[in-house]
Structures are given as C-alpha cells and as structure tokens.
Symmetry: none
Subunit: 247 residues, 2 copies
C-alpha cells in the first residue's frame, strides 16, 4: 500500500534565519511540494518585500501565515515529531538519517502527528542545543569535495523527498499511532534528569552530557503519549524511594 | 548492483537564462552534487558579480569554466544523451519521466557517455523546438495546487536525484553501528523487572504485562551495546537507593 505524506501536518521551522530572501525561497520551494506552514523563531523583523521578491506573489499566502516565535521551545511544543537538518557531522550530533529514509518515516507519521522540519541559521546551522530537541537528524548527501547548500536548497530537497515518498510495509504501521508531544517529552526529560541527579548518576557540573544519550534512545523509540506517562510514573516511584533512603 | 553516476560526465545546459543570480544558484546546487560543468546558450552578458553573489565564492570555479554558446545545436553537439526539464505538460512534449527514474538511467549512461541536463528560460521554460532535441523529458512532481519551481530549485532536484542514484550518495550515512545482542537485552530486561518489582511498580502476580510495554519502546529504539550498559548502570544505582530506603 502506498501512503502519501499528509503535507498539511508538516511545518518548516526556521531558527534565526538571517536573510529574508532565503525565507521567501523556502516558502516557494515548500509550496511547490504542498507544504505551506512556516514558523520563524528568534527573528521577527524580516523584510516582507525582500521575502516576497523570492517567494513570488504566488506563494505570498505562505508568507502571510508565517508564525513568529521568540523561543524555540515555544515554537516546537505542539509538534509530535521534530526533524533537524544539518550539514555538520559529529559524534554527539547524530545518528544521521538520509532524506529519503526520513521521508518514508514522515509519510507514515504525518497521518496522525504534527511534524516539524527544523533548519538553523544560514551561516552556522543548528547548534547542539537545538539538535537535542530533535527526534531525528537528517543530513543531505553532498559531494565530498563541496558541501555548502543554501538554506532553501536544503529545504527544497527535504520537502521534495517528503512529497514523493511512499512507504511500504513496516513503516505504515506507525502511521496510526499518536506520538507524545514535544512538551510532554521535555517534561519527562526534566524529571529523568532530576532523578538521575538525585541518585548521583549525573555529574551536576554537566548533566546534559549523559542526558543526551538518554534523549538519543528515547528519540529513536518515538514514544507514545501513554508511554511517557508510564515512564513518569516509574520515575515518581523511584524518586520517592531515593529520597526516603536510609542515611 | 547499483552504479554510481559519473558526475564528471554530466553538464547542465541553461538555455537563455534571464537572471544571473539564478545561474549562480544553479552553480552552487550543482557543485554540491558533484556536477561542475555548465553551458549557457544564447546569453553571454550575464553579470558576473550577480552570479557570484548567489554561487558564493566557493563555487566561483564553476562560474569560471562556464562555456558560452550562441546556438543550442552547437551547445548540445558533443553530448550523447540529452535530458530536458519541463513543468509544462502536453501531448507533443512527452513522454515524461520522473527525476528518480531518469536518474537511474543516467547513472548507467554516464559511465561512457556525455550527458546534458537542459533547462529553459525562467519565464517560459523549454519550447517544443528545444524539447525535440532531447532524448528524454523530465517533469518534477509538484503539488496540484501550486507548480512554480525556480530554475535553481528544479536543477537542485535533478542533480540531487542523479547524485543519490548511487551508493556513494545514498547509503553511506547510516554507518554500521553495533547493536546490542539479544543476550545483553535480556539481561537488561531482567534487571529492570527486578527494580520495578522492588519499588512496587509491577504487580508481582503479573509482572510481564507492564514489562511488555517497556520492551516495546526499547525495541523500537534498537539499543546499542553501550546504551544497554548505561541503562544497567542507572538501574544498579536506583536499586541501591531503593534497597537502602528508610523503613
């Protein structure tokens, strides 16, 4: 069975874009692929005329409906599945997925979940601070000699892969399930961090180092809402025991 | 077996491009995908600075080696296989091929043949006069509601498909990570079950009911060996705390 991605459930989230022209190009690229929701984070003074010069008036409606947010947590809170795009590889940043493999996942998940495609600023891309909020990280394959895609070119490829993706077999199974919201996951991670600190497992100087590992495997699992509740229930019990221990 | 496209045998031919900025964007998109030969037909006064603003200086070498031709026949004479790109459908213009199907053909043909990817002017695209010189015509799939790709966006998609129609482009990202053995996982589940029983989270009459949920999300994560070790370390700490609690 072939499943078309529900592009109405897919949004592009641009974190601190520097050039309004690029936002316009992204709008045009996305609209061609049936994606028309854009969120801009940490930048609310983008020149409208500059944007529209590159979106063309045909995609001006996408610009009109841009949602502006100050904080990235706020921007992402209502999404169930967040995909970061990065060109920089690094041990703590992965595991990396190809756009095609990711598009297949998204085609399934987008049936019942809100999906965010997160892109960083043109010059630096996403930093680890933003990547740790992602459930998956996509790297667009490029030539070994030259790897310097423009923001809208990267968005073009990801949107195109999603638009043309049709999952087979196993992937479709995940379609019907409702994943936990980013806000639910962050609540859970906060609780886990507290617990692991209480029992002395995390170094209080640098708790995020281990928490990144924890985030990685939970991201891969793509937790359901009820699973998050179960894990938080377990954490509560454990915390109670840890706090009432013999001294 | 799949065959890597020989991108050195592939050229982009731009027929009467109007905007130098677009030529610059095409150069950048192409170079990322290992394609660095561009031919410009019927237009030899493109502003170099405008082009380079969009190619960035990193792809300036592609601009330096642009070949300029007056006539399209001259531009295409040294190619064995010519692929036209068009957004306009029409009986006399097809048959139309998808970028992915075409990329597979090109991967094979480019081993021993010079390939041209032909694009028309931004406003009108290729006319039937140019299309009849093509051996194949590609149409990029777009949303039914909106179909208006920019020249460099169309080139981006075609180059990307060609680049990834090969093991080099597509596969390598998912490096061979070492997953945990079944025996390691079972050890971990045993320890988790014990811990959850100790803290009274599992019903001792039927512990497997909740454990199934635990197994489910860990299975989906496909844990690495070192992650299993980390989880077991956390469990040990938690168990110690639970057993030493005040009574």
């Amino acid at each position: 069975m072939r499943l078309a991605a529900k592009t109405k459930n897919i949004s592009i989230v641009l974190y601190k874009p520097k050039y309004p022209g690029n936002v316009g190009s992204v709008a045009r690229a996305a609209k061609n692929m049936g994606i028309s929701k854009i969120v801009v984070v940490g930048e609310n003074s983008l020149d409208r005329e500059e944007m529209e010069r590159r979106s063309t008036h045909l995609a001006a409606d996408v610009l009109d409906s841009i949602r502006y947010c100050d904080a990235i947590e706020e921007a992402l809170s209502a999404f169930q599945y967040i995909v970061g795009a990065t060109a920089r590889l690094g041990k703590a940043r992965g595991p990396f997925v190809s756009p095609r493999a990711e598009a297949l996942k998204i085609a399934g998940l987008s049936q019942n979940n809100q999906i965010a495609l997160l892109f960083g600023p043109e010059d630096t891309g996403l930093a680890n601070d933003q990547l740790r909020l992602c459930h998956s990280v996509v790297t667009i394959p490029t030539s070994r000699e030259f790897s310097s895609l423009n923001l809208s070119q990267a968005a073009m490829i990801l949107c195109y892969e999603i638009f043309t993706a049709s999952p087979e077999g196993g992937v479709a199974l995940q379609a019907a399930q409702k994943l936990a919201l980013a806000s639910e996951l962050e609540g859970m991670y906060g609780q886990i961090r507290e617990l692991l600190t209480t029992i002395g497992f995390l170094n209080p100087q640098n708790p995020e180092r281990w928490m990144l590992d924890v985030r990685h495997f939970f991201s891969r699992a793509r937790l359901l809402s009820r699973e998050v509740k179960m894990i938080r229930g377990i954490c509560r019990k454990l915390e109670w025991h840890a706090l009432h221990k013999k001294t």
